[in-house]
């Protein structure tokens, strides 16, 4: 398949050129199709990445940027705002992602059962949050969970609590609110992935298990989960990446929470670039910190799932 110029066929003069040019043309045509995408990817993907790294080596106010080498990276370790942002993001990650995945798994198994009627309605209802605008639903959550919002009103009326909970004004409850918001939004998304994967599991495996006397729980843990492992790995990595880049909910519901109790790393980058006196170099450094974290977490998850990378 390579366009080697050998292959001079033994025929009339014109025949020789045709053989050569067909092979070359195939190769060149192939490259032509690919080169457009390659150029665009390099220009819009790799070039900005390199420039961002370049920017992270500079520091200064607004457009007065000077090279400072790795000082920005050293600053990350002593920056308490950054450390708080990372801690908050980790809390969201460790609490929210497992809860969401387990919830999505349970829902998908329930919605996959043959005996359930109105399956389409339930699936649509649970998936609908994913297509809402991030900002719109965040603002509504903000008003639902306000001190005199509907949620507090409901809890007070049902006598579950006797003083309104500060969902947005208390450092602990603000984190809970954010976690609730993210879970509400993304559970349906992951559930759809699991549903489609479940369709691929052969019914006969379940029937065999039932005949052998397995309980529903046993079927779930010993059949469903191992067979869904690749898709669980996929969704958990996607969720990790999404949570590490969390911005919209935090910005719109709590704006970083009382103080910086709910500030996420992306929100810190926004603050550094647009809220405070802009230090674009340091902001680029923080964004590279996110890249490093994503790489580490993805690698850990691949190893935990036992796949050879």
């Amino acid at each position: 398949m390579d366009g080697s110029i050998q292959g001079v066929s033994v025929s009339a003069g014109k025949g020789v050129c045709i053989t050569v040019s067909i092979r070359m043309r195939t190769r060149v045509t192939g490259w032509c199709f690919v080169i457009a995408a390659v150029v665009l990817i390099c220009l819009f993907y790799f070039y900005p990445m390199i420039q961002a790294f370049n920017l992270s080596l500079k520091s200064g106010v607004g457009t007065n940027l000077q090279y400072v080498g790795f000082e920005n990276y050293k600053r990350l370790f002593t920056d308490s705002n950054f450390i708080t942002a990372v801690t908050n993001t980790f809390i969201y990650l460790i609490v929210q992602v497992p809860i969401m995945i387990i919830l999505a798994l349970l829902l998908s198994v329930m919605l996959n059962s043959d005996k359930l009627r109105l399956k389409g309605l339930f699936r649509t209802a649970i998936f609908l949050p994913c297509v809402t605008s991030l900002v719109a639903y965040s603002v509504i959550f903000k008003y639902l969970f306000a001190n005199d919002g509907l949620v507090n009103l409901l809890l007070l009326r049902l006598s579950i609590i006797d003083r309104p909970i500060g969902w947005i004004t208390d450092p602990f409850w603000a984190k809970v609110t954010i976690i609730l918001a993210i879970t509400w939004r993304w559970t349906g998304y992951n559930m759809i992935f699991y549903l489609s994967a479940l369709q691929n599991i052969d019914r006969s495996i379940y029937e065999a298990a039932t005949i052998d006397g397995a309980s529903a729980f046993g079927k779930f843990t010993k059949i469903t989960i191992p067979l869904l492992k690749p898709i669980i790995l996929f969704t958990s990595i996607m969720s990790t990446i999404g949570t590490l880049q969390l911005f919209d909910e935090v910005m719109n519901i709590t704006k970083g929470g009382p103080g910086n109790a709910t500030m996420s790393i992306s929100q810190y980058i926004y603050n550094l670039s647009f809220k405070y006196t802009p230090d674009f170099g340091y902001a680029a450094t923080v964004s590279y910190a996110i890249v490093v974290l994503i790489v580490i977490f993805s690698y850990m998850q691949f190893r935990a799932a036992g796949d050879r990378r």
Binding site: V61, T169, G256, Y276, T277
Partner: protein, 444 residues
Amino acid sequence: MKKWLTVVLAVVLLLSACSSGGGNKQDSSSGGGNGGGDNGGSASGGKEAAEITIWAWDPNFNIKALNIAKERYSKINPDVKINIVENAQADIIQKLNTGLGSGTTTGLPNIVLIEDYRAQSFLKAFPDMFYELTDTFNAADFAEYKVGPTSVDGRNYGLPFDSGVTGLFVRTDYLAEAGYSPDDLQALTWNEFIEIGKNVKEATGKDMLSLDPNDLGIIRVMIQTAGKWYLDENGEKPFLAGNEALKEAFQLYKEMMEADIVKPNADWSQFVAAFNSGDVASVPTGNWINASIKAESSQAGKWAVVPIPRLAGQPGSVNASNLGGSSWYVLNVPGKEAAADFLAKTFGSDVEFYQELVTEIGAIGTYIPASTGEAYSAADPFYNGQKTIADFAKWTEDIPRVNFGAHTYVIEDILVVEMQNYLNGKPLDDALNDAQKQAEAQVR
């Protein structure tokens, strides 16, 4: 049928991909031709300044003021087309930072409104992007405390606009129930304010004020009465540890929270709803809240304005302070001379214009000659006939001058965290020392 559908979908996809190529699809609050304004403004600015674009926020205040100015200017110079674009303040800051940071000037306006707390950070971060206004207007005609934040090294870059002079707006009916009248409140200290708050709460069950835990505006008001700020006199280094005024302000804040006279709010609309619905008895803030207070017309006649309380523990603290306030800046893009001329002929020298601002919007400028006009001595029926504008103008003269520096918001974010720690039991000195260390690391 399926094939046809596929073709239609593909065409729709292609069209939507093409359409977003032209013009910026930036989010803005109430559109209003911002797409055309962004590109049209600076693009045709090259043709000897026939068109200028202005960015500002708040349709009830700044935008209205601009419309009045536009009308007046069109009589002086009808050839200039003025586009007024409204965006939320946070969006304007973001767009300015992006535009100025990237170095491209297309899409930038000719005139932009910038809050005084933020102005220095822009002037220092992008020194070549602002057009000097020193010779276009007489800086001595403006309140002294506004000239500092709008200049760099003695050169004026901003034309001062609204006065953020603060007052204590009080519900006279709630106060009367607790046994107070506005005359008793003319020279309060913050400690007395808290006492009154407790009595009002007992008598009426209403909170005295509403605060947002993420916004330490009231701290800023308190420390400016004593002539102090988050930064030292040069506006360079953070001055948190050892700042006696700040310490007292923090203590007063904690006292207010512990006296249970504060209704918490989470954003601007909840803040406004607190007094519009009659849940709070007072609003200690800038005079610009006037428009929002008057929005609830059923409360007419029940409000009065008294001087803002001062810090009892700081010698030299006065019953006058400032919160917010912005100024107009001209960007160094084509059309700057026309823009500067527009500003100079309206905001910079037109006394009648300032009277209109007062009567139409209730906006108080910082142009000193304007206070001789008649609108400034009018009695306001909403406030029971009190001459509020005259009072505000009088207090404006007493506002202690402070160098806001370029880092107010960074430091305030740090202080918000430490305030929460302090409210939860951390010793005040530790909180301020930690804040000082963090601020020094963050501010470069």
